[in-house]
């Protein structure tokens, strides 16, 4: 991580309140957008280098192009230890290209999960050891239980609870369950001077 701050503590805390673990691997940081107040735990990996190549013959692979965002993450997201975010790739008009991965606010990604979705909405809980296949579309208020394999191109509508290999709808998020997706509190529990979780 490139940061001017004097190294102190396990996390680098940016001006926008992001807490990025020093042990996290962010490749191609210039193509990774963080919305703020997002926690990135150690051993998290984000592949910002896999940017969109519009033309097969395009030279924009340098990634210098300003508009080329590979991974964008909203506010109050929580990327647990060892998870991996990477843009999905596919053949397009005969050529291979990666497409950006967009993640909304209050998205929790469990430990050891791999996310290659096209979009992940807001208030989404992705459990531990989940594999989200390429170009999956996950809407808001979705809960993905641990160990789920979301197949490529799957669309998961709002308020779904999915699980299984491959993922299938196993329930709906009840009306009273919306607040549980809030990640403000857990945001406070990590960082260089963490506070204990509220009971």
């Amino acid at each position: 991580m490139s940061s001017r701050r004097p190294p102190r503590g396990e996390y680098i805390e940016t001006d926008t309140g992001n807490k990025v673990a020093r042990k996290a691997t962010l490749v191609g940081t210039q193509n990774i957008m963080l919305g703020g107040k997002t926690v990135i735990q150690p051993e998290v990996m984000i592949r910002g280098d896999l940017i969109r190549t519009i033309q097969a013959s395009s030279q924009s692979a340098s990634g210098a192009a300003p508009n080329s965002t590979a991974v964008s993450i909203g506010r109050y997201c929580f990327l647990s230890r060892g998870c991996c975010l990477r843009p999905p790739g596919r053949l397009y008009k005969g050529a291979f290209t990666y497409m950006p991965l967009r993640i909304g606010d209050h998205v929790f990604v469990g430990a050891g999960s791999v996310v290659q979705a096209a979009t992940v909405g807001s208030h989404v809980h992705i459990g531990a050891k989940v594999a989200v296949g390429e170009f999956a579309i996950i809407k808001d208020y979705v809960r993905i239980l641990d160990g789920t394999v979301v197949p490529p191109n799957m669309v998961i509508p709002s308020f779904s609870i999915v699980a299984g290999q491959p993922a299938r709808l196993i329930g709906e998020v009840p009306e009273g369950g919306h607040e549980a997706f809030e990640l403000r509190d857990i945001y406070k529990t990590v960082g260089n001077n963490p506070q204990p979780a509220p009971s």
């Binding site: 160990g147 699980a163 299984g164 009840p174």
Partner: protein
């Protein structure tokens, strides 16, 4: 959760409003005037199309292991909900989906409960929590409503298709739960054999229901259940047998504790294998061509003959069956023939002499034969050529053919009775004589039913067959004079396909014929099963008569005579 909730949110759902327009509605639909008060039928299901539009009738077919649910008028149910352990968990309990979760079937199966958690109910209601039946039913129905029917909880009239042998405590438990939780204005009860007959387009039939907990043979004559016999040889036994087969072939190392009672494999796995792999050998033929072929050839494809005497030697080779629930996962190599054993043991037990069986465990061919034997001649001749196989086990490959085959063999060996026997011979000998079939069989002997009911053998029937009443002919004449002069198929052994009880009921309700019994929500909540005019003490015929009022009942105020139909009797 109580009455105020149920009392229809929408005024037009109230009984009075439904009934009065309905009469008119029919007036329009059929160019004749409104029906005489004597004929209450339309008021039962009839409702102005306007009303139908916004409120379909929900038809539910009850099975021991699953519910079929859909709308009246559809050719098939919209959804099917199975009962299982996963359904019996608390809301929000998704453990079954956790990677590390393994359903502990052994503890669930302990105490002879192997597979019981996949059943809605057991017919033996002793020491059985009826409230639980209600709960299971409610949850299953909710799932069906939200997942398949996509309807909300506004009150809808329901039609239930039930096995006619359903014990009344179970029925009333079900009614309690549904009436208090779903507020259907009415629930109409239909017996599955009748629905099946309608679903096959016949008025009489011999319904062989190869069900889960038992096999029931019901003879339906002119839309009436004349007689019904049952045997415990059903799906459960088949699965048990499958388990025993697999357990037998497991290597010793896998057997675990020598306790023969306890199961080595999970019910889920065994039932899965049973439905996938179980098949039934054709009757192994001794001597010349099975005469059955001749009987059937007239109606059926010649294949029947082949299936009759195909050399079973062809069945070689073995099948690999993966087992996960065994102590250590393994794959079992079984000779293909072995997979026919469970079916053999469960339904035939041919190694024992017919005499050695109790009435409740008759092998199926014998069961069918007996029930045919007990029928009066005319009824029998109709039924034997309208055999409907249904129930889960009718899917076992070859089973239906085998049963029919053995049945015809039995008939050949024993005949119905001397005279009838000859008649059959002649029929076989000379196809021209077939014309005689109908007329002869048509002669309904009086009192045959009563005779046949007290299970006494050919003798009784034979006597009746002798003195036939001419008057019965009139009906046949009527038939002849009717639109269609083709005679009814009679006296031949013949199996026909039914759309199934659910579709049959869908037809019935669509045609707005009355159900056997219709129960009003208010009345039920007031009186419960006690409110029904007990038909228990009266025999079939008079009981059916009591259905007249039964038909009326819906319109009538609380307290008037109404019944639970056949179920009242059990």
């Amino acid at each position: 959760m109580s009455a105020p909730a149920g009392s229809g949110p929408l005024p037009h759902r109230s009984v009075a409003n439904i009934r009065s327009p309905s009469g008119a509605g029919h007036g329009h639909r059929h160019q004749s005037g409104p029906s005489t008060p004597l004929r209450p039928i339309p008021s039962n299901f009839g409702s102005p199309s306007s009303l139908r539009a916004d409120e379909e009738m929900v038809i539910i077919e009850f099975g021991t292991r699953k519910l079929h649910v859909g709308f009246s008028g559809d050719p098939a149910p919209r959804g099917c909900v199975w009962f299982g352990p996963d359904q019996q968990r608390r809301a929000g309990d998704f453990r079954e989906w956790q990677a590390d979760y393994r359903y502990d079937w052994k503890s669930a199966a302990a105490g002879g409960l192997w597979g019981k958690d996949h059943e809605l109910w057991q017919y033996d209601v002793r020491g059985f929590d009826l409230g639980l039946v209600g709960d299971k039913l409610e949850r299953a129905l909710r799932e069906a409503f939200t997942k398949y029917l996509l309807i909300d909880s506004r009150p809808r009239r329901m039609v239930w298709i039930l096995p006619s042998s359903l014990p009344i405590p179970l029925l009333s438990a079900a009614l309690d739960s549904i009436f208090s939780r779903f507020q259907p204005p009415t629930v109409s009860l239909l017996s599955s054999p009748l629905a099946l007959a309608v679903g096959a387009g016949v008025r009489s039939a011999l319904v062989v229901d190869l069900g889960w907990s038992e096999t029931v043979v019901t003879s339906v004559y002119e839309y009436r259940e004349v007689d019904s016999k049952r045997s415990i040889r059903g799906g459960r036994m088949l699965v048990e047998q499958t388990h025993n087969l697999l357990a037998k072939h497991l290597p010793e190392t896998q057997k675990g504790s020598g306790d023969s009672q306890e199961h080595i494999l999970s019910f889920e796995e065994c039932s899965d294998i049973a439905t996938r792999m179980a098949w039934c050998k054709p009757r192994h033929v001794s001597g010349p061509n099975p005469p059955s072929s001749d009987t059937l050839a007239t109606v059926q494809e010649q294949d029947e003959v082949e299936s009759g005497d195909r050399p079973s030697s062809k069945r070689m080779g073995s099948v690999a069956i993966p087992l996960k629930s065994s102590p250590s996962p393994t794959s079992l190599e079984l000779p293909f023939d072995a997979l026919a054993e469970p079916c053999e043991n469960a339904f035939f037990d041919s190694q024992y002499s017919p005499a050695s069986f109790d009435d409740h465990e008759l092998p199926l061919p014998l069961l069918v034969y007996r029930s045919l034997l007990q029928l009066p001649v005319d009824v029998r001749s109709l039924c034997m050529s309208r055999i409907i196989f249904t129930g889960g086990c009718s899917n076992v490959l070859g089973l239906r053919g085998r049963i029919l085959d053995e049945l015809s063999q039995l008939v050949l060996e024993r005949g119905w009775d001397p005279v009838q026997g000859k008649g059959v011979e002649q029929l076989r000998a000379n196809s021209k004589l077939k014309r005689r079939g109908p007329r002869q069989a048509g002669n309904g002997p009086p009192g045959a039913a009563s005779q046949s009911d007290d299970g006494d053998e050919q003798d009784g029937v034979w006597h009746d067959a002798a003195n036939t009443v001419p008057e019965a002919d009139l009906i046949e004449e009527q038939l002849k004079r009717g639109t269609d002069r083709r005679p009814r198929v009679e006296g031949e052994m013949r199996a026909i396909e039914s759309l199934g009880a659910w579709s049959g009921a869908s037809l019935v309700t669509h045609l707005k014929a009355p159900a056997i019994a219709t129960i009003d929500r208010e009345v039920w909540l007031l009186h419960g099963a006690a409110g029904a005019s007990k038909a228990g003490d009266v025999d079939h015929k008079t009981q059916r008569q009591s259905l007249g009022p039964g038909g009326l009942m819906r319109g009538s105020a609380a307290g008037s005579a109404w019944t639970l139909g056949v179920w009242g009797a059990s």
